[in-house]
Amino acid sequence: MENIIEVSSLAKVFANQTAIESVDFQVKQGEIFGFLGPSGSGKTTTIKILTGQLTPTSGTANVFGESVSQLKKSEYRRRFGVLTDNSGLYGRLSIYDNLKLYCDLYDVPHSKIDEVLDAVNLKEEKSKKVSSLSKGMTQRVTLARALIHEPELLFLDEPTSALDPTNSLHIHEGLRALNAKGTTIFLTTHDMHEAETLCDRVAFLNKGKIQLLDTPDKLKKRYSDSTITVELTNGEKVILPAGSEGANQLFEYMNTDQVVTIHSNEPTLGDIFVQVTGRKLA
């Protein structure tokens, strides 16, 4: 599969503060790539470099096979979409008028507005002024704006941070559908559940460096302590080795009808992050 993003030895230093330091990764065309890390770890700086909003101090960053400096050209900006924590919407205008502007800027027919509003569950609210919307609704309009031109590559910076679980789920479904149509998604989040359910691969960013990069499943297997937890009828929870040593004990519990539940003890991505970096995601 072709790489849509290629980053090599990328660094950005602001005044005398290092935001990212020698970051290397590739994002394959068609995948959902999770860029995970706590606040201040350099996630947004990386997105800004990859979208041509920031110039790197050193290293290279290529998007669509071209250096990010080329992203100032119209033909490249048409190919990606960005959702950041700053809505960038016109508060005095309606949802419809905000999206109409972007339809015209991207040469997209206005009929697309209803389609994207449906995807973010806001079709009935399109005549509402943006300034009257809740934070979650505003976030959904911003996402609709990022989706309106069906970009090949979508940068999402904490897309569901202000949303309730129902709307997050709705957005996740929309993103999966978009990804199924071929859009590559670069997602930054500190929501580990979101990363686990959406991402094909994840990178852990901490203090400006990538600490781990792999699929969520492989990471969980790598950091698993290979034990199972057995809940017994008397309420006791017993931890057993997952291998042959635990098998006899488990058989005995099962044979005497004592087993209520059995769970494998895989770590969550959050557990792995804490284990690797010693920091909590917040």
Binding site: K48, L54, S74, R77, N86, L89, Y90, R92, Y106
Partner: protein, 235 residues
């Protein structure tokens, strides 16, 4: 530089809707018109006064409104959205300036009409006013790009309004303070000189120097604006 009229028009329509709902800024455009009506009723009829009103319109509408429109786009982070879209620098700056240009022309027209100013040569004065407006719009854009918020913009644009509205009175003290001779090359003073010559019967050939100086200011301000805008595209 490529320009897409569809994109320019989209930004113009958006700006018109947004501006018409922003009373804090839009109400400013009535000040020169009210002053024009006031001076007209008072029977004031001198080139200096008429062009104080015209230059005030440039300061309050072309520079102030443009500065606030750009500063608000920066403050609300909407300018970044436009910059990340396929719209070119020309599309964005053209679209952002078109509303201000149209409003400036409308306000200048009503202001001079109510002030009962009847130019000896309408074509020359109209051409000079259109040319001058480009300088003030570029200046407003530049100040807007430097401002972090509408509040800051409305403060930093004040000296511009004062210097360019009342600046023509500098000519009264130039003999006393020769250093101020430099100020006579400002576009507002050149506009007054141009209008004075036109009233004395000069044609296009007689005001070429004034046109050239104003054009020089326009070109310099446009180049500076585009350079600063492109720098602002990258953090």
């Amino acid at each position: 530089m490529m320009i897409s009229w569809k994109r320019v028009n989209a930004i113009l329509q958006k700006d018109f809707k947004d501006f018409s709902r922003n009373l804090a800024v839009s109400s400013v455009i009535f000040v020169p018109i009210i002053l024009g009506a006031f001076y007209g009723r008072m029977g004031v009829d001198s080139i200096d006064t008429h062009f104080m009103l015209v230059n005030m319109t440039f300061g309050m509408v072309a520079a102030f409104v443009q500065c606030c429109l750009i500063a608000e786009e920066k403050e609300k982070n909407t300018l970044r959205g436009l910059m990340l879209s396929p719209a070119s620098t020309a599309d964005i700056l053209g679209g952002k300036s078109l509303l201000t240009f149209i409003m400036t022309m409308v306000v200048v027209f009503f202001t001079v009409y109510l002030a009962e100013y009847k130019p000896a040569n309408v074509a020359i004065i109209a051409a000079a006013i259109v040319l001058s407006s480009f300088f003030y719009i570029a200046l407003g854009t530049l100040l807007g790009l430097y401002s972090k918020s509408v509040l800051e913009a409305s403060v930093i644009v004040m000296p511009v309004i004062i210097v360019f509205s009342l600046g023509s009175f500098i000519t009264l003290v130039v003999e006393k303070y020769p250093i101020l001779q430099v100020a006579t090359y400002l576009p507002n003073i050149q506009l007054v000189e141009l209008a004075t010559k036109v009233e004395a019967g000069a044609g296009f050939g007689g005001v070429l120097v004034e046109f050239a100086i104003i054009l020089g200011w326009v070109i310099a301000s446009l180049i500076l604006t585009v350079v600063i805008y492109r720098k602002r595209m990258v953090d």
